[in-house]
Symmetry: C2
Subunit: 755 residues, 2 copies
């Protein structure tokens, strides 16, 4: 994180009106961060949670250095004071003891019970010194403000406070506000903080709310030890974190018991938040103690990520992503229960609609293309991908009809049938995986294609398209829903709002069963990284090799190398490394291959062994594990077919690798030994493709070692379930004392020819 | 983390002799933690990395509070001083500017270049104050010690220093040692820390080493910004982090360029480490800046986890785990290339050996059982699982022969064959997944079984057994290797040392392709959590339902409920929730079911709806999503079959669910709609099992939605690859201008009956 640099983000927000969407938080100029005692203190001993404090300071300083006006409402003086007083006592006892008895008996010393207000008074100076030392590291100045709630009731005091704070903000200083605990009434005993009576910390909730409104802050981030607001007490079955909470929703939630530390239970927090919201400050309640997110919870919120519960006045139209997923899943279940012909019917209807509504689609697409062109954000290549044409739509419709045909026998196919015992029959049948999330970039023609694949396989589908194709995607999705509506299941396929972040979607691991990224390898890599607990179907690397054996045919070698490298250099199945048998060096074949590559303007890099054979070598490769994705390749020399196999195992990505040879035995050895998803003999790497393989619709190419591998057809979207039909059979019937015996007879099933 | 409690771990280590294994670090009493400047400072601006500092303080304080004697050798005074001086200048400028020109022009102010020694002097007091404030939070005292390397050369100074440090340690104080930068020679300019000349920080490496030896520390943890020592410069192809480095290994590594911050390149660090090692202090060099591990890098090292590079004098016998994995993979490749009969032969030989060497096996097992019994660590149940008997070995051998039979047609089976074009034929064939890691608990009979499964499927295998079965596992593994040796591939199956931590194994994501935990659901859950990027075959939850429909047969209902719950209550396929149709309440059938459960001593919990029907209800469930795993179950009332399906979808774990009804239509609806791995009609949940399903050998039960689902047989250990054989075909041949057309004809393959 670049924290210290004093560049400033454009902050266009005007103060005093609550922000409508999380995406507007980026423009928030004035932000109050409230740190509950659970955030600032450790649970076990009540001391400060220094790591969290440091991380909060870092984030606040970074936001301040972006030109925002940050204020902190903090707890922690009691905790600091407690440790300090305890420390003093221990230290003096320790010295005394060391002088007298020797060593190592400190542990049994009793810790006195300390009064909270005294602790607060003793701790406040140390706490501020710590804040100052920390903020100093980010070249940021701080100031201490001690207030009580009463200060807001006295008009004169309020004005004084406000003017002081404004002056501090103007001077680029971060005010650190705390309740003036020394002057509050004596505390109610509370056993949570061992040995300390806790001060009525709920004051900090209303204090932060009042302060935010008084100072016309754009955003109040209230951090405590809960993830946010749940619709029922967390821990209960199906309790759900509320993403956005509207003032009108208040009846829909059930509050649980108070939070562990502090007396400000959830209800008080919500009350304070709604009060601030009414006053024009947006509020987010989030967890500041979660070890995984603490490092960037504040900046994540400001960047608009889905963290905690956002209190908003504006209820956006449409369902939340969680609701969409649920609708999709239940729609998908009906889809899966349809007859195959009915699913085919929907797909054909969608194909028809692409032709019928061609004008509307092209008009919507035109809007996207014009917007993209005028914004100048897209390259010509991406613009081409974005634009639809009449002929593109036609071939799309043809493809859809093919999917409709291939969908005939996908769901509910019996793979295996076993007679376990008399009247006890087992079937293994294909079923949909569940809810798919397909993330695709600019190409809007992806949408109907993916929709058809999901329909054909009986899966529910969430579609997340690029912003640049928003209008096109919208109409294509409407047409998909129209097609689905002939069987009343328009909900089975949902278009995810462009506002949803991919990263947030990748976290929905209980809702989504499989993620399929369709786009660049960067997209795939990004999603593989972001997906937590959800499998991703795809590959992020394609380092494909062509090995020219000593017994290769010269014509085949040249054709295959040329096709593999030059047909479409940026494809994942393009050749990246050419392995040449040592005996071919300085032969006419080798020279012809080099000549061809030169003619095709392929830039050649030399592997270390190849370079050692040459007097004047081309630039040596940095790594033999490079995916050039362009008219570039590496050439390396190997001693034998076996050496080639070893090279590929060491540096390849198990995608597609080819041997060119006339010797069948060598070829079969290569095909057998090489451990890649696709292994070819005398054929171009470019055949590694679902369409060329004849799989019908292609879902993607996978380099994973489980589930689907290589080009994936419709079958990659299916799993199986086991159906057992009995007449009251029990396991005990088959025990030694039981009356039954296992038969385990295979019952033949009519295998359709797989296609 | 419980940090503050002053309990103490038994530290039996005597000072002054280097520890031989990481596992001995737990007993280290005196530990020096060296913090390189890269750890203590942020890269961007040179300020302190406060979060890291706080986390280091927390870990050191925790270890200190365990009764260890901790010392810190720190950098950071320069960074603190720089920020402080800069801050002072900014502050004064800021006030001046605010008074004059208004606001917000601070950013353009020039930052003066500051001299490093002056910064160090200005920063040392602040740095110490920060350490003290932080350690105070853990009730730990600190003391400042400033030294130069020269202090170690002067005998008198050295003795004074040593005696002071001993006195501090005796008083339970953490000495914080830094070089006395104010008195060192002027620094060499260095552009890394913007605006500051860096002091020759490599002194801290040798300082820490000298100090460790002088103080007879057991362990020196040297933290910097590298993961540890690599065998070649990191970033190069196949550069590997060295886990354990021995003094004799020095020739085998190549040093790269110096690390970014600081002048102490890797070579200097290694030199210092070897020096300390010679003096009797073990050393670990590790990364203290990695965000994911920083939070517990020090405690992880002390707990013996594989972090960084350990400098050890003792070279342990045998290969490292990485070497074992590589040996297994290459052995596995040969195994996969054998004829099916040859693999069967190995398995049969292993079965024979179990009988031939019965005496030896039982003797080894007796040792394990006796050790476990005398240690008193194992429960009677676990002891039973641990003990082998002659009859157990016999049935094991029979099982193995069955696996040998079922292995006949597993690897290399053609699943699909397509004529893509003339002379271009595609095959999809089954191949092994690669390297499996099987983790099993006390049962040693698991070993030959798993080994046979791996051999049958052509997979390489790493076996990680429990410590308590070490002797038995060792001999069983030797016999496995003996069997493998008939085809010269004893390396294909490796027994992992009991010293290796499961967590470390789960991180080997480039080396291991699939993890299979065999044991309790806790084991599975733990491994699913620990596995980073490696798929885990298994299930952690089995919340199985039996639904009694209004049209159920009373006898079948009673038999099935009894069998499902009572046959083996702790099994994952035991019933946890009984769903009863509303109409059955207060019928004789319902009363009989309750009577049966009472007779079987099954504790009943009531779901909320069931409870509402009763005047006196049993205890209401806390959650409808509970796996009791014991003679306990939940009963809930549903309104219809549809309601039952919805309940299972909401609260189930998609493992196994049953309907009991005489109405075929209702049953088929249930079987069709319910989305679980196993759905049964009128049969006990207990049939969800590979053996009962007739899958031959059972690999496990999976509740994942991809790859394998439900009970998994040998097929779960296989994946596929695509083999294409052509005659120089290129993709261009099939373009519009090309000469060829796709045929995509399916060529029938002789489907074996799946078993």
């Amino acid at each position: 994180m670049h924290t210290g640099s004093i560049f400033r983000v454009p902050l266009t927000r005007s103060h005093g009106k609550a922000l409508a969407h999380r995406s507007e938080f980026r423009q928030a100029r004035r932000i109050v961060v409230k740190l509950g005692s659970a955030v600032v203190t450790r649970g076990d001993e009540g001391g400060l949670a220094l790591g969290r404090l440091a991380s909060i300071v870092e984030q606040v300083a970074m936001l301040q250095n972006q030109g925002r006006e940050m204020m902190i409402v903090t707890s922690g003086a009691v905790a600091f004071g407690k440790q300090r007083l305890r420390h003093e006592i221990l230290l003096s006892q320790s010295v005394r003891q060391a002088l007298h008895s020797g060593q190592n008996q400190l542990k049994e010393m009793a810790i006195p019970v300390l009064e909270a207000r005294a602790c607060a008074a003793a701790g406040q100076s140390g706490l501020m010194a710590l804040y100052e030392a920390m903020f100093t590291q980010y070249s940021t100045c701080t100031a201490q403000i001690l207030v009580t709630n009463l200060d807001f009731h006295d008009e004169q005091k309020r004005r004084n406070l406000s003017s002081t704070l404004h002056e501090l903000l103007r001077m680029n200083i971060v005010p650190i506000i705390n309740t003036n605990d020394a002057v509050v009434p004596p505390p109610v005993p509370n056993s949570d903080l061992q040995g300390v009576n806790v001060i009525s910390i709920k004051d900090n909730d209303s204090l932060a709310a009042r302060l935010s409104v008084e100072m016309k802050a754009d955003l109040l981030i209230a951090l405590s030890d809960v993830e946010g607001l749940y619709d029922r007490p967390p821990g209960m079955d199906n309790a759900k974190l509320i993403d956005i909470f509207y003032p009108g929703d208040q009846q829909s939630i059930t509050y649980g018991s108070k939070s562990r530390v502090g007396m400000g239970g959830m209800e008080a927090k919500v009350k304070a938040a709604l009060w601030a919201l009414q006053g024009g400050t947006s509020v987010v309640i989030a967890n500041g103690t979660h070890p995984k997110v603490t490092g960037h919870v504040i900046t994540d919120i400001v960047e608009g990520k889905k963290v905690g519960t956002f209190f908003s006045e504006v209820k956006p139209a449409g369902p939340t992503i969680e609701q969409q997923t649920e609708m999709a899943r239940s729609g998908g279940r009906v889809l899966a229960s349809l007859l195959p012909e009915e699913r085919g019917e929907i797909i054909c209807r969608l194909a028809e609609l692409l032709t019928e509504k061609k004008e509307d689609i092209l008009n919507a697409n035109k809007r996207d293309v014009e917007l993209a062109r005028s914004s100048g954000r897209l390259s010509l290549q991406l613009l081409n991908r974005l634009s639809l044409s009449s002929s593109k739509l036609n071939s799309l419709a043809i493809g859809l009809r093919q999917i409709a045909v291939s969908s005939k026998d996908s769901v509910g196919r019996v793979l295996r049938k076993t007679r376990i015992a008399n009247n006890l029959e087992l079937e293994q049948i294909t079923v949909p995986i569940g809810v798919l999330l397909v993330i695709f970039e600019s190409r809007p023609d992806c949408l109907p294609q993916v929709a058809a694949l999901a329909i054909a396989s009986g899966n529910a589908l969430l579609l997340k398209g690029g912003k640049e194709a928003a209008h096109t995607n919208k109409i294509l999705h409407q047409l998909t829903q129209e097609a689905l509506s002939i069987h009343g299941i328009q909900d089975a396929i949902q278009l995810v709002s462009t506002r949803e972040e991919v990263e947030d979607l990748c976290r929905l691991d209980k809702l989504i069963d499989l993620i399929i990224p369709r786009g660049s390898s960067e997209l795939v890599r990004e999603i593989q990284k972001a997906a937590k607990g959800i499998p991703v179907l795809g590959h992020s690397e394609g380092i494909c090799h062509v090995y020219i054996d000593s017994e290769a045919s010269i014509d085949k070698a040249i054709d295959i190398v040329k096709d593999s490298k030059c047909d479409y250099p940026s494809a994942c199945n393009a050749m990246e490394t050419l392995l040449v048998h040592r005996d071919l060096l300085r032969t006419p074949m080798f020279d012809q291959i080099i000549d061809m590559l030169r003619t095709e303007e392929v830039k050649i890099h030399a592997g270390p062994k190849f370079a050692s054979y040459l007097t004047f070598s081309p630039s040596e490769v940095k790594s033999l594990r490079t995916e050039y994705g362009d008219l570039e390749c590496c050439i390396e020399v190997v001693d034998s077919m076996q050496d080639a196999v070893d090279h590929v195992h060491k540096y390849g990505s198990s995608h597609t690798d080819v041997i060119v040879t006339e010797n069948e035995e060598t070829a079969e050895q290569f095909l057998q030994q090489l451990d890649s998803a696709c292994v070819f003999w005398n054929a171009s790497t470019r055949f590694a493709d679902g369409y060329r393989f004849g799989l019908g619709a292609e879902v993607g190419i996978s380099t994973a070692r489980i589930h689907a591998r290589g080009p994936v057809g419709l079958e990659g979207l299916l799993t199986t379930k086991w159906v057992l039909r009995g007449e009251g059979h029990t396991a005990a019937d088959f025990s030694e004392q039981g009356s039954m015996k296992f038969l385990h007879e295979n019952i033949p099933v009519s295998h359709r020819t797989l296609n």
